[in-house]
């Protein structure tokens, strides 16, 4: 499964969600599919996309929050899995695209390439609904089910280590930030 195809497969659901992504391929590919004012791309601060998602989910329980995370980022904030589990925001779907590498900085392998199981760690942290999927069909089904379910879900989507040609897009960081804030605050 390619990450871009996975995001494209669920893109139709994202207009009624609030989406926070990590930097790198996830941000560039989602923008290439089509940016929306309810999408925020955390273009640095690796590890904190899930924490931002938690902050939004706690602040605004009426919103459905989707975090598009990655294996490298999750590995930088493993403690964050325990905080997610502890507060169990029922309006948050945590997707981890696991390509077993740090793709945007040369493709060096992460620990998931040697057996570290992120869904297993999420489950051990206390997140009750976790799964690992590796096909488009199972990803689409798992994501749709997670959106429909009123509970915190972590879905680890195993994807190929291929990405876009470049990572810098024409959406400036602060433009994205203020547009997203306006969307969240209904302005």
């Amino acid at each position: 499964m390619k990450r871009r195809d996975a995001m494209e497969a669920v893109y139709g659901h994202l207009d009624r969600c609030v989406v926070v992504t990590i930097m790198g391929a996830v941000a560039a590919e989602l923008q290439s599919i089509g940016h929306r004012p309810n999408f925020f791309y955390l273009q640095h601060a690796m590890g904190l996309a899930s924490s931002m998602g938690l902050g939004i989910a706690l602040a605004r329980p009426e919103l459905k929050v989707v975090v598009f995370d990655g294996d490298g980022s999750v590995l930088m904030n493993l403690g964050g899995l325990t905080t997610l589990a502890r507060y169990r925001p029922r309006n948050l779907v945590h997707v981890v695209f696991d390509n077993e590498s740090l793709l945007s900085v040369g493709g060096f392998p992460t620990a998931t390439s040697t057996g570290t199981d992120i869904a297993g760690m999420a489950a051990a942290a206390g997140i009750e609904r976790t799964s690992t999927v590796s096909t488009l069909e199972t990803f689409r089904a798992g994501f749709t089910e997670a959106l429909a379910t009123d509970d915190l879900t972590t879905i680890v989507a195993k994807v190929e280590a291929v990405g876009p040609a470049g990572y810098v897009t024409d959406l400036s960081l602060l433009e994205n930030r203020y547009q997203f804030q306006r969307f969240l605050r209904g302005g």
Binding site: L48, T83, L174
Partner: protein, 171 residues
């Protein structure tokens, strides 16, 4: 444990008065009463962290979503959060109100706290984060209010140092 309940209460009420409704925290001795007050307050969302840097992301998300927040941490927790402060809060112009217990100054008895005290202000300065000390009760309310105002108008992190003479009732 001679942590000042009265001054903790003053800090807590000042945070409530400026509209803080989400508090992320990692326990440390000087912060125990503040954390308990947040725990007992139905109007406050307390988020207990595994590591302080998470609090930067949580506050950023809460801010964009319209909820005012603050971070409660020890200076060593601030040191552990530096990348999040720089590459989330500063990069994205997030008004972050940080309350940092300033361990390791004169009077510190715990040997393990003594390195952090000497570098905290230098790191704040290097990061261009405006900061003030809270040494006495009469400073608490106005400085929290002014720190909150500057964070909002500048859209940047600001820090208040919770110092020994305010937090610890023992000479």
């Amino acid at each position: 444990m001679p942590v000042s309940i009265a001054n903790s209460k003053l800090i807590y009420e000042s945070l409530k008065d400026v509209g803080v409704r989400l508090l992320s925290a990692l326990p440390e001795t000087w912060l125990v009463h503040l954390i308990r007050m947040a725990e007992d307050d139905r109007e406050m969302q307390l988020v207990r962290l595994a590591k302080e840097e998470e609090g930067v992301g949580i506050s950023a998300g809460a801010h964009l979503a319209g909820v005012s927040s603050a971070m409660l941490m020890q200076n060593h927790g601030f040191l552990a959060s530096v990348n999040g402060i720089v590459s989330c809060a500063q990069l994205y112009r997030i008004p972050l109100l940080m309350l940092i217990s300033h361990r390791g100054e004169f009077g510190e008895r715990d040997p393990w706290q003594t390195e952090g005290g000497g570098v905290t202000i230098h790191v704040l300065d290097a990061l261009r984060i405006p900061h003030e000390r809270l040494d006495s009760p009469e400073q608490v309310r106005p400085r929290i209010r002014k720190a909150h105002t500057l964070a909002a108008s500048a859209s940047r992190p600001v820090a208040l140092l919770l110092c020994r003479d305010l937090m610890w009732e023992e000479s």
